[in-house]
Symmetry: none
Subunit: 237 residues, 4 copies
DNA sequence: CATGAATGAGCCTTCATTCAT
DNA sequence: TATGAATGAAGGCTCATTCAT
């Protein structure tokens, strides 16, 4: 277990340092603003050393995105355990989405970056695999909640896979947060309370599917607020 | 009407050529991949000539995005006239979204790019204004349909502005299409028919709001299919 | 005399307009900052039109410099008439130098620009000739004062031409004003009153040559002050 | 002493090469004529390599100017030690000015360039400081000679700081050499022996201040000639 | 394994000048 | 004669990547 350890650990540690240094640069200045030169200077390591750890810049971005996805997955997993009421478990995941997009903006932004084909394609096959696995697991958590709801009789799934069912909620929250983050002027357009209105749409959608137990929006809203407070933002090591 | 015409027209035409040449480069290779150098070479014009038409690269991107937004707005406007049934009018707009995201992928991608702060900020104030106006008008079309539905008694709007109501559907379709475009592996994840499932979610959401007239999903689906066929992809001049 | 006149006059007038517009650009932004493009835009004339008047950019700069030299020559001429005392006539020219360098900074700066070989060489032979003539006449005015002083017995010229004699005073004032204009920090270096100290050096130099009538520095200083007030800054047409 | 040596030395050496290559380009073609592209080509190094040594073009110019100033300072220092007669020490510095302006024309030209605000402002704070210090030291050497003369009773300083006193001689020699360098046609104007005449003016000015020991111009001229021969043009390392 | 100097293609942009209309 | 679109070389500068040490 701990063979080769010191060296190994040092390497892992350095990789963590690199990523920790790179993240704010990436978030603050965008993909083009992350420069290997500056990264090396700030790290007080040589540029060549960076390249010993990551074969190219995209790999660093992908590694950061993986960290972010991992964080989100953790939050999903935690959220899914906060209640034994299937509808509230789903709501908790919605709350996790909100919390992630708002309080972990940086992570959300980096995740979004990965959705750029060029970065994705230049990332190593191995890292791609890790990312895919992580996404699969995150989806698995949510789909699991849906499956449980069906099994418990709280939800009657129409002709859809649980994943397709999840996809709707995912689109709704994901889409809304992208729009919020990139449209500084939503209020000018008449969308005064975007987050709250998405909560309302999500509530309506659940009602539309007859997800039990039904509850008033006020109760649902309060409940999401409480759930959000109980979700902790995981730590990266 | 036709004063200053020949020269003027030639210039306009060349600008169209530039944009037409730039769009695939932008879409294929991303913002960083659109290079003024290469654009000039492929156009077989001098670099300076490009700069006589557009003061900088961002202006080109913004011009493309405006074209795309304009196209979408046209599709929305057309869609909103395809029925006198308020729910079907909303469905038609949903169908326009689908059609736009799928058949005008390039336009969708360019629109997305504009959501990058840096590009937006370097675009000319004038172009920014045009873009804002265009977005406002598009939102206006959809919000108008909602208002009509309310006025007709087909829809009872909860404590939301019509725009906030629209925002939910916008997030759902926008989010889903971003995810579809950037997740090549949705089926691997269990999302086999993403577009159809979003239709289903939209239908459920409308039902959740009790938007009249209710209809079966099969009918709704068929209807959207027909509406989509009647929406034409506008022409740029 | 006034044949061809209207057209001719219009042309002359336009040239004046061009120069008037170009001067502040040249002074504010330096030689590289004078751009034919911007000049044309601000003139509301086409670039080609500029080139009908001036075959190249250097020619414009040379024309401006000629105007400046011309202005200085006028000031010298006026200064040389303000007294019948030969020493005071020379002092008046010194006062003109001061006034020119300080109150006509722009002109002084443009003159200086012409001392750049590249600009000089690209100017037309004809303009070069005009400039040379203008400088010759300016020198002639000052050398004339010296000759008069010698003729009157106020000054005994050592083994030097009058022009060489003038060259000393020219170097002193010219040098000091270049240094003043380009060393923002003379006071930091201990040179607190550069202008006054050059007056003192000039006064000492005249004394060194025994230029009659001798006078105290205080008187000389006061006298230069008065003379400066009587020199008017000529008008360009 | 010799730690880090080989690499370090190679780098220093290359910087010297760059500067050595840049100087003639700068002198021949002016500031705008020094092109990083051409410099790289002539150096047979990549453009990026230049930028590894100097962060921008202005830094190169400033570095060259610093070299030049340093050279002049050395010459001043050496000159100030060539006699124990205070007046001859000042003359020696005058001779150094002459020698510098004539035999080190390139250096003189580069120094002049630094007097352009734009270059100065883009130079690094550090280089600016070095330049300021160098100028201060040069001024200090000359002002020191003046102070010694006063202390020895050879010179009675009027109501001026030693630096203001120096400023007069500085203006005289500096101005004359700028004029000589930029007026190819002084003889046409009647200034046949500009250098000799400035010597005469300097001699007269010293006499005007009663700087002891007085001497004939012939002796002074011969003396300056001898002093000039004893000033060596320093070496840059 | 770490280093960091060297690379060089590429970036966006400017601008004096030309010339067909 | 006036126009201004087109030119295209040149500009300064960046940066991911390599490789000799």
């Amino acid at each position: 277990m701990h063979t080769l350890s010191r060296k190994q650990r040092e390497i892992q540690q350095r990789e963590q340092q690199i990523l920790a240094m790179a993240r704010p640069m990436l978030v603050r200045d965008g993909y083009a603003g992350l420069s290997m030169d500056r990264l090396a200077v700030e790290m007080e390591y040589a540029k060549g050393t960076l390249y010993n750890h990551f074969p190219n810049k995209e790999e660093i971005v992908a590694a950061l995105a993986l960290e972010s996805l991992e964080l989100r997955r953790q939050m999903f997993e935690q959220a899914s355990t906060l209640s034994d009421n299937s509808r509230k478990r789903m709501m908790a995941i919605g709350a996790a989405c909100e919390k992630y997009a708002i309080e972990c903006q940086q992570h959300f932004a980096v995740e979004l970056m990965l959705r750029n084909a060029i970065i994705w394609e230049k990332a190593s096959e191995q890292r791609q695999q890790l990312i895919r696995t992580c996404e699969l697991r995150a989806m698995g958590v949510v789909a699991g909640v849906v499956r449980d709801a069906v099994a418990l009789g709280d939800l009657h799934l129409p002709e859809m896979t649980p994943e397709e069912f999840v996809f709707g909620f995912w689109s709704l929250t994901f889409g809304s947060h992208v729009l919020i983050a990139s449209s500084p002027s939503l209020p000018d357009i008449g969308v005064n309370q975007p987050v709250r209105s998405i909560r309302y749409h999500g509530w309506t959608l659940m009602n539309g599917y007859g997800w039990q137990p039904l509850m008033s929006f006020e109760e649902s809203d309060r409940c999401m607020h409480d759930l959000a407070e109980r979700i902790s933002i995981g730590v990266q090591h």
